[in-house]
């Protein structure tokens, strides 16, 4: 069962993704900020991170760089209410970029495709 970490400062968003992805068979952990995420990642290995960009304690893009530096093998999917960051070169460090929507299917599909590809390898 793949381990997924949800990093989002919105409590209800964390709950939504947690409920939805748990039902899909993933093991979900959630945190609200960057420091908390880095601390947890030192204790536990995750297969994929769903990362919000506009966090309260740190920029999601800065956190992306740090995670990529410390955990180069983990999949990272940026998940933001803003589509404008798509044009930011730093987002290329991530494996996917999904704009938040009431339709969660695109996020689910992206996660699934990344993890299946990984398993096939």
């Amino acid at each position: 069962m793949p381990d997924i970490l949800i990093v989002d400062d919105e409590n209800h968003v964390r709950k939504l993704y947690s409920a939805f992805l748990s039902r899909e068979g993933y093991h979900i952990d959630t945190v609200a900020g960057g420091e908390e995420a880095l601390a947890l990642m030192k204790q536990k290995k995750f297969d994929l991170i769903v990362l919000d960009i506009e966090l309260e304690d740190i920029s999601g893009l800065d956190l992306l760089k740090q995670i990529r530096a410390e955990h180069p093998d983990v999949f990272i999917v940026l998940n933001s209410a803003y589509s404008v960051y798509m044009s930011d070169f730093h987002t290329w460090l991530a494996d996917g970029y999904i704009v938040k929507s009431s339709d969660i299917k695109p996020l689910k599909d992206k996660i699934e495709s990344l993890l299946v590809t990984h398993e096939e390898k």
Partner: protein, 591 residues
């Protein structure tokens, strides 16, 4: 002279006294009743032109032709009748053919019995003083003419008006008095004299009519010049046609070229020694004698005035040319002043237009700045809304796909669809706000429309016939935020598809009219279809609900903030048309 005559009458009998008048500055002579010369002093001899005063004694004065020329025969008849004779400034020529102006005084010479025994004559040569007086009078006249012309010209600024006044002054009898006058102006770039205007009668008959009329009016020169202004068009086509379209190069050796190149007035006479260029000028003007004066101001060659007496045939004197040259110098200042005035008027108009454009640009800049701020604001609001919508829609979705929701599935579907609709609105607002961040610049409107059209076609569903785009042939430029305008154009293009699919034939076009760049969406079809289209469009532009309406509002605001307008055109007899109009940008001069 009278006192001298009285003195002489009393003492003439005394020989010793007679000799005292030999060297008198006045010419004195005495003749007897028969006209035999009894006395003649040296001055009288000189004035009459005789070789010797003494040798003339005893000769009949009637035999001396010069005396007759001086009009003394009439004087003698008067005096022998007992009366005195006095004639001032009598112009004549003496025995040697010399021109002289004389004051003549004759009185009866009486003997001791008080009988008239002869004539005492006194001649005063006033030739030099008369000449100086004439010169002075002529100078005063010239000054008067110049003064009047100056006064009239000082209040004239219109170029054509000044030119006509100049030529009127040259030809008026109260002015320089020439019969005809021609004005040529120098084309500074081409270095050619070009026939500009002419004044004067076209024929002797016309001359007679005009001059008689002017003479009867008895107007001063300044009245005549001011009268000219009140007449809208007094150009004489007959004489004007003589120089119309005539161009003379300054490289030529003709009198016109020499006058302008050397800055001198020339009195031109027809004759065998004349150069071919000048001969051609005289032939074209149908004259034998022409006064030519260059118009030069501060060393800058402006043109040339030519004048003649073709009707009267009066010979032009060098003094006339000199006066014309003085006049031309005067007119040079008036012409230059007129040109400066024209430049100033043009500059003022240009400045006014610039100020208007600056004010307009500032206004537009403020509007665009406001738009940018609004864009930032809507962006942050939209993002704040996206998270709750994600949660609402997400949980509804989650519940719908979970077990045990059968009784609420309808409501959950409603929540989900409304959340999606709200997200569409957010996407449109975000598109707009993202566009707001782009800086303003000059935009090729045709190119922008074409790019938007291509984007529109790429998103068009396959079952919809694409509208045609007709781009204006001329270059269309607008100033503003290209992303915002593209967003607005896209919304309008999209409107036609979303609302009017399959209804009728749609076409897009760009054009320019009266300083406005225009994008139009027009519709073709049967009357019934067009009526339906119009109704739909009226609902869109008048309705306040629906997401499509929001996009049109945002697009419309974008257009307005760019100083433009939009709307639905076409009355009951016309096909409906949606249009967007933006101010045309005319490069750096616009800003």
């Amino acid at each position: 002279m009278v006192e001298v005559a009285d003195s002489l009458s009393m003492r003439i009998g005394e020989t010793s006294l007679r000799s005292s008048f030999d060297n008198h500055p006045l010419g004195i002579f005495i003749v007897d009743n028969e006209g035999r010369i009894k006395y003649l002093n040296d001055e009288a001899s000189r004035i009459i032109g005789l070789d010797s005063a003494k040798e003339s004694i005893g000769h009949l004065i009637y035999d001396v032709d010069a005396v007759m020329n001086c009009g003394l025969d009439r004087a003698f008849q008067t005096v022998l009748g007992g009366r005195t004779y006095h004639l001032n400034e009598h112009r004549c020529s003496n025995c040697r053919g010399h021109y002289a102006v004389l004051n003549i005084f004759c009185s009866p010479y009486r003997n001791e019995s008080n009988e008239i025994s002869g004539i005492l004559g006194i001649l005063q040569d006033v030739t030099d003083s008369f000449k100086r007086k004439s010169e002075l009078e002529e100078a005063i006249y010239e000054l008067s003419v110049m003064g009047q012309v100056s006064e009239a010209l000082s209040s004239a600024v219109a170029h054509d008006e000044i030119l006509q006044m100049i030529l009127t002054a040259v030809t008026a009898s109260q002015g320089l008095g020439f019969n005809r006058a021609f004005l040529f102006l120098l084309d500074q770039k081409e270095g050619r004299l070009k026939g500009e205007t002419a004044v004067g009668p076209g024929s002797p008959q016309e001359a007679g009519e005009i001059w008689n009329r002017l003479a009867s009016q008895q107007k001063t020169l300044i009245e005549l010049l001011n009268d000219y202004r009140e007449r809208e068009n007094n150009s004489n086509n007959t004489i004007g046609s003589l120089i119309s379209g005539w161009e003379i190069t300054l490289n030529d050796t003709c009198a016109f070229s020499r006058a302008v190149n050397e800055g001198i007035g020339i009195n031109v006479f027809a004759g065998p020694t004349i150069d071919p260029g000048t001969e051609a000028i005289l032939q074209r003007l149908k004259t034998q004698n022409l006064a030519v004066a260059p118009i030069i101001s501060n060393g800058r060659r402006l043109g040339l005035i030519a004048a003649d007496n073709q009707i009267t045939g009066k010979v032009i004197r060098d003094a006339d040319v000199k006066l014309l040259q003085t006049f031309a110098n005067h007119t040079a200042v008036a012409i230059e002043r007129s040109q400066l005035h024209d430049d100033l008027v043009e500059y003022a108009a240009c400045l006014e237009e610039k100020n208007r454009q600056i004010a307009e640009s500032q206004d537009q800049m403020i509007r665009i700045e406001k738009m940018s701020v609004i864009g930032e604001l809507t962006s942050s609001i939209a993002h704040e809304l996206r998270n709750p919508l994600t949660v609402i829609g997400g949980f509804a979705n989650l519940m719908l796909t979970s077990e045990g929701h059968d009784g609420n599935s309808e409501y959950l579907n409603i929540i989900l669809s409304e959340a999606k609709r709200a997200e569409q609105v957010l996407n449109q607002v975000l598109d707009f706000s993202r566009a707001s961040r782009t800086k303003t610049r000059a935009i090729d409107f045709n190119q922008l429309t074409t790019q938007t059209y291509e984007l529109f076609l790429a998103r068009l569903k396959h079952n919809i016939k694409p509208p045609q785009l007709q781009i204006a042939g001329s270059n269309l430029e607008v100033w503003g935020n290209p992303d915002q305008l593209q967003h607005a154009l896209f919304q309008y293009m999209n409107l036609t598809v979303e609302e009017l699919t399959g209804e009728c034939k749609v076409s897009f076009s760009t054009s320019k009219d009266n300083g406005l760049v225009r994008f139009a969406i027009s519709f073709q079809g049967s009357d019934a279809v067009l009526a339906k289209v119009k109704k739909t469009l009226q609902q869109i532009f008048g309705s306040s609900t629906g997401t499509q309406k929001l996009s049109i509002i945002v697009a419309g605001e974008t257009i307005k903030y760019h100083g433009g307008g939009f709307g639905l055109a076409g009355d009951s007899n016309k096909r409906p048309e949606i249009y967007i109009e933006l101010p045309e940008y005319r490069g750096e001069n616009n800003a």
